[in-house]
Every structure is written in structure tokens, then in C-alpha cells.
Symmetry: C2
Subunit: 309 residues, 2 copies
Amino acid sequence: MILTVTLNTALDITYRVPSLRPGGSHRVSEVTERPGGKGVNVARVLAALGHEVTVTGFTGGTTGRILRDRLTEVPGLVDALVPISGTTRRTVAVVDERSGGTTQLNEPGPTVSHAEWSAFQEVYEDLLASVTAVALCGSLPPGVPVGAYAGLVRTARAAGVPVLLDTSGAALRRGVAGRPDVIKPNADELAELTGFHEPLRATQDARRRGARAVVASLGAEGLLAVTPEGRWRAAPPARLRGNPTGAGDSAVAGLLSALTDHRPWPDRLTRAVALSTATVVSPTAGEFDHDTYEELLAKVTVTREANAA
Amino acid sequence: MILTVTLNTALDITYRVPSLRPGGSHRVSEVTERPGGKGVNVARVLAALGHEVTVTGFTGGTTGRILRDRLTEVPGLVDALVPISGTTRRTVAVVDERSGGTTQLNEPGPTVSHAEWSAFQEVYEDLLASVTAVALCGSLPPGVPVGAYAGLVRTARAAGVPVLLDTSGAALRRGVAGRPDVIKPNADELAELTGFHEPLRATQDARRRGARAVVASLGAEGLLAVTPEGRWRAAPPARLRGNPTGAGDSAVAGLLSALTDHRPWPDRLTRAVALSTATVVSPTAGEFDHDTYEELLAKVTVTREANAA
């Protein structure tokens, strides 16, 4: 069983409009709605790969109820979300059918009380007893202390569970100090964390800050992994066009999937690149195409680099 | 008791963002949510004026549940909405704090089944037995026949209940044929109905098409009313700046309020102009300011015109 944590879950709504004009009135031609928040997205991909996965974090109010209803429809996924008195936030993605661009509107999310945060920490510790890996994903909602992830990382390490942290900004900077097994920043997040824009230098600096392994996602160039076992670059066979929404979450799922299957770093990176590329080329934002994923597994190139630095 | 009909109810969500950039990602700084659809808005204004008012129409799903929960909070308002299996639509208004402009995103709404439409017609006929006036407001949801309003107008007339129709496009064109007591088109709706852009000519033509009285709302210029009892223009004391959202619904509420109180046309028009102006200048979109309304009642000018044409 894999555990994913989403402290700031969301109900993700997508609107398609012929063309978005600021100040105009638009009839939405298509509405889709699904459970969201990074850890929920990671769990959905893991479940689709055949893993058993538990989701925890916070949920509340009417949107929380819709989110939980929809999670019951995902086979292999266990809902261990902790109820709160606030209402789960919505995100609205407005897809402009003419330009293909997406305009994102994110509600701030409910404030989590001290008692709710304590209740979550107990649930989390109990869940760790029966999982093979845990991913801590996304932003922190108001009310949760900025150092929250460092504490959750330490609890996982104390329980002997490998822990991956995928967040940004202050939550990442503070969380890294807890010494997570893996972090998976993108180039911007890595630069914000370390102050370095050159990926290799930034990745090495991130390890010095506490991360055991750093898997940097460099967009179309693939992944750069700097780990205690060595340094690798992994890339898709060709630059593929598509929608990058959810590609990072799919990469996290790939890393966790292979980690849980006791596979070495090159296999973990192969799954991560194949899944994120299969997500980019999928016509549905955030979903991956199974056949494309299977095909890509044989085509991803993983190159070991000398650990000169 | 006044009855308002909203066949296409909505949960109206308002997002405030610092500045809306197509293709960008925005953190929403403020979220507000309230029951909507034109007839619901009219009912809210009538209830605030102290009238007893019943709302009917369709509602369903989670958004429908939220809408009904919120209606219970309005004193003087009776919920007689008919449940459907579909889910009530949302509308999202994105207010750009820098420009003050509003970008509107309207979900299409659920499809109403034949059985649900029949159930509504029975409820509607029963409700007519105990009301002094009825307003039929807004667009028709998918599944409801385009001639729906003509039928509802005839049922009201057969029950001896004065009926106001406030809609647009084909629903208005077909509805007018049922001979409503009043229609309240704006300049665009009137031009679309009649093909004439000159308000007086268009208003007179709309009467020939079946409306007993036409109250045309001409924006900042106020109202032009052509009725069997005479022709009037009603205008606010000055051009007032603000948000026109809901001004038309407030005008409908003003007309119904004075009609129910057995007041003549000049008083009906005064209330309509005072309410819609108090809505425009209110800081909250769609709400009216009570003190401003009371003040404006004495300042609206109503001018009788010779019925030369």
C-alpha cells in the first residue's frame, strides 16, 4: 500500500469556452469535475497502474462531499481523508478552445484548525504502519504551520517508510530540513529553493540542504536525478507536444511505483518519464494514456553520469 | 404572495482576482456564493422589501442542495422548487480588481426530462391559486420546449393572475404570443424581438406581438413604458455609476411590488427605477441599498407622454 498526502485537496473544475475574452460573458460548452490536489492526482495514477493506494489529507463541506463521492469510483483507492469544518476549495481551469491556452483560478482553501491538524497527524502516524512509501504533495492550507512537512517527513523516517516530498516555496524549504528520501522539484522550484539556476548545481545544493535524492523535472528535457547511488539523466525519445498539466504528478507516481516494486533508480526514472510523457500527450488534461505509457517504457533513455562534482 | 419562476436556477459564484490574465494562474482573493437565476434574484429583492414570495422552477444535485440551503436563510421566501435528476448549473463571475470589469462563465445547466417538465406544470398551476402576481424569468434549460413561456403565461391568465415575462431570444418571441400582462426587455432584447432599434417604435411593435404592456429598460436613461393606460418615461435623478448586475431583476421586483400593492403605473415605474438604481450604486453586485432606495423614491421623475402613435 502506498500513501499520498494532500493537505490542500481541491475539486478541480474544467470549463471549455470557444474563446476567453476578459470582460465578456461566456457560455461554457463543456464542464468536467474531478477530485484534485497533487497527492490525489498521484494516487489516481498509481491506482490506474494497479497499485493499492490510500489518500489522506483534509476535506470538508459540500465540495469535500463531492470529492469523496468521486474517489469511491476509483478502483484500488482507499479514502482516509480527515474531515474539517471548512469547505474544500475549488479550482477552475478555463480552456480556450481557439488558443488552446488554460486560465487557472484557484480558491484559497479553508483554514485548518489546530485540533484538525493534530487529528491529521494521528491518522497519518497510524497509516504509516501499513504502507511501503509515502508522498507528501502540494501546498499547505491556511492554518497548517509552514514547517508541517518537516515534521511529517521525520515521522515517516522514524517509521522506516521512504518519503517523497513534492511541494514548493517555503513549504519545500522548510520540508527539506526534515531530510526526505526524495524531492521532485521542477526547474523553477529548484531555483527558488537554492538560488541557483543551473540544474546540476541547484540539484547538488538541494541535497546539501537535506534531501537524500533530488529528481529535478526539466520539462521536455526529462529528469535529472542526483542520488546516493549515482547520478542519471532520463529523457523521452522525442519532444512531444501536449498539455503539461499533471505531468509532474505522474512523474511522482512513476517514482513511487518503481520504488514500491523494489526497482533501482534507472527503472524508477524510466517509469517517471514514461508516465509524465504519456500524460502530456493525452487528450485529457492530467490523465495518461496506457498504451503510450507501455510503448514509452522501452524508449526512454537513461544515462548514467560520472559523479565528478 | 408573489410567485417567481426560474426554470434555469443557478448557484452564482463570484471570484475576485487582482487582475485577470488569459493563460495565467490566479489565486482568488475572495469567494462569494449565492442562489441565482433571474427569478431567484427578483424574489430576494421582493423579500427584502417585505413581500411574501414563493420561488419555483427546477433544482437538483449538489449545487441544487447548496442553493436550497441558502434560500432557507432568506426571511419571507418560500421554496417551492421542483427537484430534478440533473445538477443545477453554476455561474462564475470573475471580478478584476484592477479594471473593475467582470468576466462571466455560465454553465449550460442540466437537461430537464419530459416527466420533470410535466411535474413542474402541475406545481405551477397549484401555486397560482394563492398568488397575486407571477414573474417568469430567465432562460429555458435544455429539455424545456421553446414555447414553454407561452403556455405558462396562458395558465396564469386563465387563473386570473397578472403575469410578467422577463426573458430573451426565442423564449421571449414565443412567450409574447401567450399575451403576458407585462414584458420588461432591455434595448438589445427589444431590438432582437422586433427588429427595430428605435425604442419607442420597438416597444409599440412588441405590444402588437402580444404583450399588454411593455416596460423597456434603457440603461442609464431609465424606463419607457407603453401600456393600455398610457405611456410614460421614468428616470433616475442623475446618471449614477456602478455595477449594472441585477439592475434588471430589481426593476422587475419594483414593478411586481407596486402591482401587488394595487398602485398605478407611475408608482410601479418609480419603484422599478429607484430599486434598479439602488442596485447599480450598491457596492455588492446584485444587492440594493435600502437607504438609497428610500431616498430615490422621492427623486425619480415619471413623465407621461402623449399617445400620439
